[in-house]
Amino acid sequence: MMRNECTFGETMIHAIAQTIEDNTLAFHGFGSPLVQLALHVAKKTHAPDLVLVAGATYGINPNPPFLTPTSNDWVMDRNAEASLDIGELFDLAAAGRMDRMFLSGLQIDQWGNCNVTQLGNESLKLKLPGGGGGCNLSCDVGNVTLWTAAHRAPANNKSKRRFRLVSECDFITSLGHRSREGKRPAELGHRGGGPDWVVTDLGVFDFDDEGMMRLKYLYPDTTAEEVLENTEFKPVMPMNIETMSLPDGEVVSIIRNLDPLKIHEKELSPGDLNRTFH
């Protein structure tokens, strides 16, 4: 396939899509255009038999004419083969039928715990929107892809950084590989395998056997030093860190056709809007 120029946003969608396997059931939440697009890319390319369940509408295998900034919208449910209700959707996960889900946070720690509930652990400093179904799903779903487009944490004018990838979450909204007491999900009796990928604007991580985040791929324009500088904890750094593959022309055109309003760019930091790769 011919290689076109692609944007950073398209590369990140491609990287998320690579975490989705064929013949599985995957569910995207709401407010996550990068993930919504990644699921459609996966289904139209390497995962044609993916059971794609849309967030908020719970439509199965929809074929929306364009991406909207609102998830619970008939646009996003267009041409769905069937629909689930809220109980059935979460029952699927609880009973072990949901293979993959996607979660994010204003804080993500080294174990893949995420916080979308509040900043400040003793007193509330900033109320975040909340986690939707993420708390339950993080425990129940086969595997979880974490993502954030705001890994880069530039220092403010007091040379202080507000990290997105933090040593400890102020509130654990969704569970990663270790609870606050150090328990692994399996010890707690959870059936889910936890997060296995983290896709950020600086690189792509997997997790080692201990459940620690480990740098796996960089982008053509990022370095290991940048990753370390922008991460509050020290991720596992293997000897060989590969470069993430770029989306081919087919993937780029799927994304551009499905997102003419460029909704996914709302998730990106302003500085990442001009990043392109060849």
Binding site: F30, G31, P33, A56, T57, Y58, G59, P65, F66, T68, P69, T70, S71, N72, D73, W74, V75, D77, S83, D85, I86, G87, F90, A93, A94, T117, Q118, L124, L126, K127, L128, P129, G130, G131, G132, G133, G134, C135, N136, L137, S138, C139, D140, I172, T173, S174, L175, S179, R180, K183, P185, L188, G189, H190, R191, P260, L261, I263, K266, E267
Partner: protein, 323 residues
């Protein structure tokens, strides 16, 4: 949560009257100060906005709101000072406008107690009420900080398998407030598209009040595809066209992004700005729902929002950035 002790009162009555039609004001009169309220719809879809405006005009206070993923409905109630506790799973404007300004402000000021829930936990708590049992077990949530936030959750060892399970107590909302596309005079409701948690809310709540775009005959309701919520759950209903504006109520109208943008701009700065530029002109100083419709632009707005089904280009145009 105050009323989540597993002790539900049981449902010893059904709503059987032949004609449930009521004015919007009478409908809102079923909600009392301090009630635990389950608001239907979700995010930018089918929020019962006309009823919420009426509740605000009536000065309702100290409501606890309980539900899944919400946006302008909860943010507006918080901004109007009607809420003292929020047990939603999400309140925000997604990637469209981001965090909910009034919700954030009132939570951070301590005016609204943060009692966040998670979708499946909510589903199971409603199911417990619906099934007449004091709790439901779930496997998930242990290991997260929701356990700290909710001391009312208990753990038990399963007598069959020996596994540890989390027990979440039954929740019985005082009132469910639902906006559906269609209903009949008897109170049967028909929801088109994703029902979100509305059907669970209707079955688990002591009272259900509903607005509908159109009241039709029971025969027409069945011709349209059938009843989603049978009449005996429903206390009263009112026909309120555009009753979910600015959220969507397809097939009648799409989401009003321009009005939501106006709302967000008024809300983001501070509480005074919100009061002056949104709450007063669009809620408090409004005489009726018809008055509201004329203030938002009348037929011209309905024509624009109902143009979604002409073709994809027309639909897409509704999401373009406001000029």
């Amino acid at each position: 949560m105050s009323k989540a002790n597993g002790q539900t009162n049981g449902f010893n009555s059904v709503f059987s009257s032949a004609d449930k039609r009521a004015s919007l004001t009478d409908l809102a009169g079923h909600v009392r100060d301090g009630d635990l309220v389950a608001i239907g719809g979700g995010l930018s879809s089918r929020e019962p906005m006309a009823v919420l405006h009426e509740l605000i005009r009536a000065g309702r206070k100290n409501l606890t709101v309980f539900g899944s993923a919400h946006g302008i409905d909860i943010d507006l109630l918080c901004g109007a000072g009607a809420v003292s506790r929020s047990a939603e799973s999400y309140v925000g404007f997604e990637q469209d406008f981001g965090m909910a300004p009034n919700y954030r402000r009132t939570c951070e000021a301590g005016d609204v107690v943060v009692d966040d829930t998670c979708c499946y936990t909510m589903v199971q708590q409603l199911r417990a009420t619906i099934q007449g049992v004091p709790f439901m077990p779930i496997r998930s949530a242990r290991g997260t900080d929701f356990i700290k936030l909710h001391p009312e959750y208990k753990t038990m060892t399963c007598p069959f398998t020996g596994e540890e399970l989390l027990l979440v107590p039954a929740i019985e909302p005082d009132v469910a407030i639902i906006h559906a596309q269609y209903g009949d005079a008897h109170g049967n409701l028909r929801i088109e598209g994703p029902p979100v948690a509305d059907i669970l809310f209707a079955k688990a709540s002591r009272k259900v009040i509903a607005t509908v775009e159109k009241i039709v005959s029971n025969e027409e309701l069945k011709e349209l595809g059938g009843v989603s919520i049978p009449y005996f759950y429903v206390t009263a209903l009112s026909e309120v066209a555009m009753g979910a504006h600015p959220t969507a109520c397809y097939p009648f109208y799409a989401y009003d992004r321009a009005h939501t943008s106006l709302y967000f701009d008024a809300a983001r700065k501070d509480a005074d700005n919100f009061r002056q530029n949104y709450l007063e002109p669009y809620v408090l100083n409004v005489a009726s729902h018809d008055d509201y419709l004329s203030r938002i632009g009348g037929d011209e707005v309905l024509n624009r929002l109902s143009s979604w089904d002409r073709n994809d280009a027309s639909w897409q145009a509704l999401y373009q950035e406001p000029a």
